[in-house]
């Protein structure tokens, strides 16, 4: 699929694997997506589908060994960043791309005050003096709405609540004014009231700075609230991507449809039960040769077990972002087109998706 012009970050055919005792884990198997300046891309999918590994590859955070990027590219403003630590004379990690994690404690040093931890990279990357950096750290804590920032800057991570730690990590991540902020499940461990505060904060910061956000989550509610565009991942691949409206109102891939049906509904007139997706994601030691979703897919056909579905463009005129889905159901001229396809025609959910 052709990329929308003006993309800030473009990832193509990314493949990452890990050596383990049990064999080679193919964690990421050909991921494509792009992010435009100032927009929020949500990457959504079940745990273990490769979301974190995808973004960690771009940040140079994959432990090698046992990890390996076997194929693919990630270009920031057209320049390759895989395997690079700096482009255009600036550090990629920290300066051009900032990152926050689900568990702030993995990124924070427990023996150093919060203020010093924010100030240190400012001295290194921006050449600020000690005093300047310390003042800037307090300002950043204020920006991320930590009350009594000057006092808090002198405290250690254990003195902060989970929500405060997440704010401190955001302060650190935006310190060098990155063009992209990668947020890997930033609110998964937080209560909903604190999640709402952090999501508001991210939106406000984006409005003020114009930075792009890549938000990893497995919560479709968070996607709906935050995203401009969405990449849905399953078993190491992007199975559907498009604008947030394409993904929610014109969903096409059976996995996207399944995820939506499994979400609790807030419509009091609908008293239907939850519709789980039966089974669990495939083992990435020996991923299936065909579509990764086939073992759980209610529409699986013979071809699905044998060959990987290509991406079909479903772009509508309603948005200028490309909408695509990897599923044999969309391939009118698939070599396996046979009568097998017919049984799905009564399925309203798929018809809705495919018709648009």
């Amino acid at each position: 699929m052709t990329q929308a012009t003006g993309d800030l970050l473009t990832v193509e055919n990314l493949n990452v694997e890990f050596d383990t005792y049990g064999g080679i884990v193919q964690a990421v198997r050909g991921v494509d997506f792009s992010v435009a300046a100032g927009e929020t891309l949500a990457i959504v999918g079940e745990s273990g589908c490769g979301k974190s590994v995808t973004v960690q590859s771009m940040m140079g955070l994959i432990p090698m060994p046992p990890g390996r990027i076997t194929q693919g590219s990630a270009r920031l403003r057209g320049q390759e960043i895989l395997g690079q630590s700096r482009i255009d004379g600036r550090e990629i990690r920290g300066a051009q791309i900032g990152m926050i994690f689900q568990d702030p404690m993995t990124a924070l040093n427990p023996t150093m005050t919060i203020g010093d931890q924010i100030a240190e990279p400012l001295q290194v990357h921006k050449g600020m003096s000690r005093a300047e950096a310390a003042r800037e750290a307090i300002r950043l804590l204020e920006v991320t709405r930590i009350p009594e920032a000057a006092t808090r800057a002198k405290q250690y991570p254990f003195e902060f609540s989970g929500g405060m730690l997440q704010r401190a990590m955001i302060a650190m991540a935006i310190a060098c004014k990155p063009e992209i902020l990668i947020a890997d499940e930033p609110t998964t461990a937080l209560d909903v009231t604190i999640q709402a505060q952090i999501l508001d904060l991210l939106q406000d910061l984006q409005r003020e700075t114009g930075m792009a956000i890549v938000l990893i989550t497995h919560d479709l509610g968070v996607v709906a609230r935050m995203a401009d565009s969405v990449a849905v991942m399953y078993a190491g691949k992007v199975v559907e991507r498009g604008s947030v409206d394409d993904i929610f109102y014109r969903s096409a891939h059976p996995y996207t449809l399944g995820l939506k049906a499994a979400m609790p509904s807030n419509d009091p007139t609908l008293k239907q039960s939850l519709q789980p997706i039966e089974g669990s994601p495939p083992d990435l030691f020996s991923p299936p040769p065909g579509c990764g979703y086939a073992p759980r897919c209610p529409h699986a056909m013979k071809v699905c077990q044998q060959q990987q579905p290509p991406e079909t463009s479903l772009s509508s005129t309603e948005t200028n972002r490309p909408h695509g889905s990897h599923c044999w159901l969309h391939e009118a001229d698939s070599p396996f087109k046979p009568a097998e396809l017919h049984f799905i025609e009564n399925d309203s959910a798929v018809e809705q998706g495919a018709a648009s």
Partner: protein
């Protein structure tokens, strides 16, 4: 719960907490008010959802109810019998078959060195008089009931996904056919698609065998699907109790409203149309709890009286609902 016009044949109480209180001494004269004067009834064959933010006292309440913590004050009645304030080992032996707990984390709560068969049969073995052959048969039957295969018996927990491990934990607790089960967050570590599997499984087991369950969770939207009633907890106290759907769609307490409203919905148009759902502040420390309403420092509807007078749970007229808030005085 007192009687209601909406539900005439209300279940007879199976488990009843009356003014149940559990404090923890944390040194220098400071006490954590983890559970403070909570009264809640779970009826025969009823599922009650207990929801609230992290640290609100849900797990402590569940454990105190089952005698896993000593009671600081208040009492627990089981089928009308008052249970001891502090369990001795004979009490555990006598009550373990009646009351069971399913724990939060499907990853750390199963012994990695035991096979699934051994894990599920563990409770049976402790109860004398069950032969090995009988135990195998029961385990096979229960693995089937929770949607696993009998031949999974010889495998180890690490070979299973989070949702499957949760099913193993459920089979382990239910194989003793307890009269009452406390499920502590059995789903929050799981993906939505799998959470729905577990919720539906509990719903089916309730239909087929009449489970009585206290279901502890953060998230009301999922819990309401299996709950008959829900109770909302904040900083050690119950703030609202009512029928699950009615409470979810028509919350009366400002905190319940905030909990439900701050959960974003999977609908981009709706989310674009509501600018912000966040309230200020965080849950206060349960050490030295503030006077007055415990939610006052964050409540969007706070009044002068809220800062000094602690609101009590009162029953709302014409509604099967109890609320602790001065708006309803």
């Amino acid at each position: 719960m007192s009687d209601s016009t909406m539900k005439p044949n209300k279940p007879t109480p199976l488990v009843e907490a009356r003014g149940l209180t559990r404090f923890f001494d944390v040194g220098r004269g400071r006490r954590v008010h983890a559970v403070d004067n909570v009264s809640l009834t779970v009826g025969e064959r009823e599922i009650v959802g207990l929801v609230g933010e992290s640290g609100s006292g849900k797990s402590t309440f569940g454990k105190t109810l089952l005698g896993l913590h000593d009671k600081t004050a208040g009492e627990v009645l089981f089928r009308g019998e008052t249970l001891p304030a502090k369990y001795r080992s004979v009490d555990y032996q006598r009550l373990a078959g009646n009351m069971q707990m399913i724990f939060q984390d499907p990853y750390s709560s199963l012994n990695p060195r035991m096979t699934v068969g051994e894990i599920v049969a563990e409770g049976l073995r402790l109860h004398a008089g069950v032969s090995n052959a009988m135990a195998r048969e029961r385990v096979a039957e229960w693995l089937g009931r929770v949607g696993l295969q009998p031949d999974h018996m010889s495998r180890y927990p690490h070979e299973f996904s989070g949702g499957q491990r949760q099913r193993i934990g459920i089979a382990r607790a239910l194989i003793l056919e307890p009269d009452f089960v406390v499920c502590d967050e059995p789903i929050s570590a799981l993906d939505v698609s799998v959470q729905a599997q577990v919720i539906n499984l509990l719903g089916e087991l309730k239909e087929s065998m009449g489970l009585t369950l206290l279901f502890i969770a953060h998230d009301l939207s999922m819990v309401r699907y299996v709950s008959d009633r829900m109770a909302v907890m904040y900083l050690g106290s119950l703030v609202e109790i009512g029928r699950a759907d009615a409470l979810y769609f028509d919350p009366k307490h400002p905190y319940t409203e905030v909990l439900i409203g701050s959960n974003p919905e999977p609908d981009p148009e709706l989310e674009r149309s509501r600018p912000s759902t966040a309230i200020q502040g965080e849950i206060p420390s349960p050490v030295n709890v503030p006077a007055g309403c415990r939610f006052a420092n964050r409540c969007p509807k706070v009044m002068e009286v809220c800062k000094t007078v602690t609101p009590q749970l009162i029953k709302l007229k014409d509604l099967d609902r109890e609320v602790a808030c001065h708006l309803y005085d």
